[in-house]
Symmetry: C2
Subunit: 406 residues, 2 copies
């Protein structure tokens, strides 16, 4: 009889707890081989500080079911990178702690950096001939992991962005007797998957957002101003979506062009985002009413527009992780294999975590069209199935009920 | 046989189209006395420019049903103030247009300024002995209209703020091994009703948002910093909600203290909100990690957290407006009279629009506690019933479906 330990790492998503639920609920089913299920509180960093909980015990209450639909990271997260050098003393420390708690299976739910943790731990385990099994469960709204069709968390975030941009466009149209430009900045430093999803906000061809810019294509400020001028001719209240990471193609983010934003009341240098910079640029060059909206943390942690497909797949990723670990796999990440888009069919697989952890998957160049200002229909075919289905949330007094560690 | 004309004015809400649906659907039922139902496109300003549509015709399609759950102002809005002087030539112009279109009933859905329009038109009508009836249908997320228990639009916005603040607090807790402060800025220049609703985000006593500040009480920056220091002792990831209109009690908004924010890349003076100012203040005085989040236009136009109570009441306000106009009322606004909070019981009434249009209703002083940093339970009893119930939205391809003028 061995124990499981599971942790969450990196930024939260709306469904990362779905994967946690998957690991715990599947673990509880294997009472023949698994005795206890521990949660690391605040990831591997918290575990190193002795911070853990008996998350398997939640299975005896209604709390585990509530965890399934709670956004954010129930166990808490961390941004802790293990040393590159496997001879570092942190590794024996960690494995001694694993032994103390009779850990046989280690699950880590996260993105790129979390897969790096899984990679290092599984390689160290091999070195010392430990038979602890290390499995990564993917999670990122950025959708930038290689070797998988998409990542848990992306579908719900994509649905959130599409819906909110449709709402913002509706709001912008309220005064449609005046010209205006609204610039919506979406998360994504290096990959534009989430920003691209704003295309789903269009209600008809030519509808807002008329322009969509991703970090994958070099951003030309003059060409952008021309596109805005052109767009205003047919759409008096123009909505433009941009990734926070749009850049000039020579290594400079567009937000870095805002060099002269001065200091705050306390003498600190003010930082500004790409949306704010472009707001000022449009005001300067075209002179119409402009506003920029930076979508806040809700794009990664809102339960408002959960995709049932995304939540179910996130749960299944956690379940499958336990199953493959029990069958002997280690050093793997769970992957999604799309068999068909219409009707949507998915299989679950695994890939070597070592080839995933230091790669980023960009939006394919051929899906970015109109000189980098729009997205093609192939992307719509890709993303549409991931945003489907409604999840009914438990509520109390009208407000969604969330699980939290007491 | 007379015609109806209906318009929308001021900022949009999630349910302003519910009231439009109410007016149109009720108007269609009275085919014995009402021939056509026109919509002003972009309010009274659009009407003056001859911009109107046959909105009654939507009743023959599914479109009218879709209008009911579409956020934003379907007819478009305006911010146009009629001249104070009733001898101005715009009045005979307007009434000539009313006559040309055989208008017998005029409905205007909006807040304070819209009620000012209803007041002026009804007073002018009295002067010239016109028998056109003018009725105001209240609408504002600010909840600041007098003579009514609350306003359509407030309940859904309150539910949005409560839910989103709960999500933001969940997100903030993800790294709960580090101290942090998150400042959430909510709409409300003069009245704090919407910000106060953030209290519903608390999952247990002492939960976030630990501090809530409204414009009704003078904001003391030193006292605020002390409260934040104190709060951090028990809540390492502190969430603070503030109204955009918090001020020093001497006529200066807190955001105006940010005097030195400098200029943007194009030499324009940068503006900053109260949240951003306080972010910098906390960084300077306490030195912990701080971020500020300005809730964007979605707080007024999102369909994500519609309150069924709010939507139903908004529809009913439109229905009742048509009924009282047909019975001969004019120069009135529809009002809500709360009979009981538990179980919640509401009656509909009317009040003289002239005593409403230039007044603002603040949050009662006795509901604001702890030196202006918290809200009392009486407020919770007041707001809770307004946020109840779920509205199932029509969707297409997973994204909420909105009506729009073709």
């Amino acid at each position: 009889m061995k124990n499981i330990i599971v942790g969450q790492s990196g930024g939260p998503t709306a469904v990362i707890n779905g994967s946690l639920y998957g690991v715990v609920s599947e673990g509880l089913k294997h009472s023949d081989s698994i005795e206890r299920i521990y949660g690391m509180v605040n990831g591997i960093e918290g575990f190193l500080n002795g911070n853990m909980m008996d998350i398997g015990a939640l299975g005896k209450t209604n709390e585990l079911e509530l965890v399934r639909t709670t956004p954010g990271a129930y166990l808490g997260s961390c941004r802790y990178k293990l040393p590159e050098d496997l001879a570092d003393s942190v590794y024996p420390t960690l494995f001694q702690k694993f032994e103390e708690h009779n850990i046989g299976y280690f699950f880590y739910i996260g993105g790129n950096d979390s897969m790096d943790t899984v990679s290092k731990l599984s390689r160290y385990a091999e070195e010392i001939h430990s038979d602890i099994r290390f499995i990564g469960v993917p999670k990122t709204i950025d959708n930038d992991l290689v070797e998988t069709d998409h990542t848990p968390g992306y579908g719900s975030a994509a649905k959130y962005v599409a819906t909110v941009v449709r709402e913002i466009a509706t709001d912008a149209n309220v005064y449609d007797n005046k010209q205006s430009v609204t610039i919506v900045e979406v998360m994504g430093r290096h990959a534009g998957w989430l920003t691209a999803a704003s295309i789903l906000a269009r209600k008809f061809e030519g509808d807002n957002p008329v322009l969509i810019y991703l970090p994958e294509v070099a951003f030309d400020q003059d060409a952008f101003i021309e596109k805005v001028r052109e767009g205003l001719k047919t759409t008096p209240n123009l909505v433009v979506c941009i990734s926070e990471g749009i850049n000039d193609g020579n290594g400079t983010f567009i937000c870095e062009y805002a060099s002269d934003v001065g200091t705050d009341s306390f003498g600190h240098k003010m930082l500004t985002g790409s949306g704010k910079y472009l707001e000022n640029l449009v005001k300067e060059k075209i002179g119409v009413k402009v506003r920029s909206i930076e979508l806040n943390v809700c794009q990664r942690c809102s339960c408002a527009h959960l995709s049932r497909v995304d939540l179910d797949e996130s749960v299944n990723a956690g379940i499958y992780a336990v199953q493959v670990a029990l069958m002997g796999d280690t050093g793997k990440m769970i992957t999604f294999i799309r068999n068909k888009s219409v009707p949507y069919e998915l299989s679950y697989g695994t890939a070597d975590v070592n080839i995933i952890c230091n790669q980023e998957k960009p939006v394919p160049a051929e899906w970015i069209i109109n000189e980098g200002s729009d997205i093609s229909d192939q992307f719509i075919d890709y993303v549409r199935p991931l945003t489907q289905g409604y999840v009914e949330l438990p509520t109390k007094n009208g407000i969604p009920l969330f699980a939290y560690r007491k």
